[in-house]
Symmetry: C2
Subunit: 418 residues, 2 copies
């Protein structure tokens, strides 16, 4: 087979405005951070960056949890690390499913050998605390595992009352916040969460590839029961935990904690560039301030939703539980959804999203998150979509979307002035 390296040019992706459900454009500061040169795995500057990153993500998660660190993989890797370390074969887990990522949690928990129990909601709505408490009473699980923001449906499951319920029944409380963190409220300690996993590629304005997690003392005690140090790594004696060995080496949280902690026992080789990246994502968010960032996502998400309504697009799902950072809209009848997405991408350079499973071909998902939760990004997207829809034969009031979005911004300025 002949091979010509010249067929593989220097990386040079086309300019895109990514207004789908994520990944979105990375903040240029994040890209610059990743281009910093490497240092050794145990260089004091490297271990300092690791320790600092732990401190930064404690603020991001609003927690005092000592064990707040990164999993070297995408957000899905961080989910698996939390589940496989806590759930031994036969352990019961309750998963309230209200979208695709609920199904993912059941999938991953099933692979751990857990006995998975689900309750399901029609896509587009969320669970009440009572519904979850009833299921906990019935199932008596070791863990409640629930997604906070399920991008497949754009819904945000309220978590604030679930921690108290879990405590009452002695249940570990785990959530995945990949799609929601940085754009929606999250209070790890106040809400009594035991384990949280996230990702960078949504409101944190980074690429995927690193999964921040935080673990409560209760959760750490649980997973430490399954602690075993690997062969060939430490000559001195070590007492292993009594629990069943964790089914994964890469996702073994007690071993990962020994690497991030003072012991600095070698496990994987920390992905330095992604560490720089995750650290910069947190710095950007905390410099803006968490409350400001959430308010910004709410403002631009609201402008996008009001604009979309004026494009004669019907919003999907229970609007009182929508995530701030993404809106679902029904694809109008007589409009070819993929042709619209294609025109947006190829003519205007703007990406909007399709959806999965039961919503595939039925809704578009339009994001306003991270670096792209900005007025210009909202207005450019609405203007383009107005023209693409008009040319596709969809009836809409010319200029209505921009006027509606502008009204949202004007009202926000008025309220600020008060």
């Amino acid at each position: 087979m002949s091979f010509d390296i010249n067929n593989h040019k220097q990386v040079n992706p086309p300019p895109r405005l990514l207004m789908g459900p994520g990944p979105i454009n990375a903040d240029p500061r994040v890209l610059r951070a990743m281009s910093a040169q490497l240092v050794g795995q145990y260089d004091p500057s490297m271990t300092d960056y690791m320790t600092e990153t732990m401190a930064l993500y404690r603020q991001v998660f609003k927690t005092e949890n000592r064990w707040t660190l990164l999993i070297d993989g995408t957000s899905r890797a961080a989910i698996e690390a939390c589940l496989v370390s806590a759930l031994a074969p036969g352990d019961k887990v309750l998963v309230p499913v209200f979208g695709r990522f609920g199904h993912l949690l059941t999938e991953i928990a099933g692979r751990c050998g857990a006995e998975v129990h689900t309750i399901e909601k029609e896509w587009g709505d969320v669970f009440s605390p009572d519904e979850i408490e009833d299921a906990i009473k019935r199932v008596q699980p070791k863990m409640l595992a629930v997604v906070q923001g399920d991008t497949s449906t754009t819904m945000l499951q309220p978590l604030e009352n679930l921690g108290e319920i879990c405590q009452r029944y002695g249940v570990l409380f785990y959530t995945d916040v990949t799609a929601s963190i940085g754009g929606n409220p999250l209070e790890a300690d106040t809400w009594q969460l035991d384990a949280i996993s996230g990702g960078l590629q949504k409101c944190l304005a980074g690429p995927s590839g690193s999964g921040p997690i935080t673990l409560s003392d209760r959760f750490v005690t649980e997973v430490r029961k399954r602690h075993h140090v690997e062969a060939g790594i430490r000559a001195d004696h070590h007492v292993d935990g009594a629990g069943e060995r964790i089914r994964s080496n890469y996702f073994d949280l007690p071993m990962i904690m020994d690497y991030w902690g003072e012991e600095r026992l070698n496990h994987h080789t920390e992905a330095t560039s992604m560490l720089y990246c995750a650290r910069e994502c947190a710095r950007i968010l905390l410099q803006e301030g968490l409350d400001n960032a959430i308010a910004r996502h709410q403002l631009h998400g609201n402008a996008m939703a009001r604009g979309a309504e004026q494009l004669n697009l019907k919003l999907f799902g229970n609007q009182s539980h929508k995530m701030n950072n993404v809106v679902g809209v029904y694809i109008p009848e007589n409009v070819d959804g993929e042709a619209v997405r294609s025109a947006m991408l190829n003519d205007f350079g703007i990406e909007i999203g399709t959806s999965f499973g039961p919503l595939h071909g039925k809704i578009w998902r339009i994001g306003t998150m991270g670096y792209n939760a900005r007025k210009d990004a909202v207005l450019v997207t609405l203007s383009a979509l107005e023209n693409v829809l008009r040319r596709a034969g969809h009836k809409l009031p010319a200029g209505g979307a921009i006027d509606a979005a502008m009204d949202v911004y004007a009202n926000a300025r008025l309220q600020e002035g008060q």
Copy 2:
């Protein structure tokens, strides 16, 4: 807890020359590639980059294997993906252990539920094909899993005769080449390998965080028997494989193949920046030419080893099976090994490595790999080490190391001229 973002400055690592066993300094081209802006997960430019990366790594591995792709995690993640997808509980695996990373393979295989059989060599040597064939006859494993280059001992296990043996006994042949690829010969197809996993942070001159793998058709047939598509992802019908479900979702190779292949079924969200990075690592290597890169590692590794001898340092292990890219040297008696490493790092900005397990505190490991397999890097390191050792009271002939290294370079030029 009060928190001051100003305590967390912009990333700015100290300048280091990384001459340990890896990670080493990234090629600046790789760092620049990572700073390219993101595109959407299914953007044609993104899927093109994925397909191109597959083609590039086929050349790196010297294979026609269709399924040549990246695992989103460090090299350890790529190992686990290969093992957990192929080894069902109870399957027998034979691991020849000649250093720390052999132990790691047993660890990971054990977590998969496999019945792990080992043969062991004293650290510093490798196995003969006969020794491995005898063990295969005795154990009758489903898989032979062996590390090519074990950085803990600097040894390179010859693989060229093992594929034929594995074929003869119907055994899958897997190897990890993280430490060796790009600096030592590897012929995936000629040597009849069924699965190979690697990493970027050694001779490929990148950061850790992405693990290239390649899989033979025979291996793919085996893991596809365990193929199950996850719930919530595809509405149309799908026939699951008869084999036991793979114990990990994140490392499920059949699902990862569906994502990298034409089906483009959503699995994880590909880590775009690390994809750009892995692609650039391969481009750099292939532009130089594999044979040239291997010769370069041999040349500079040889210069470092000859120089080290003239520092009155005794080389560790069977020198006829040393990796090109790293040399082990005994820490001289009466010299404090960690004090020397500390002076190298803190006074000269140069990192050399310690070792693990039985070699901890007994040898240093000095690498010449990837971007740092360069004459200036070798000479600067030897000069610095000469002075640090001299000041530590170690006897050595002044200037001998540099003269020995220079002789290696002069001889190489002479041979080139012939």
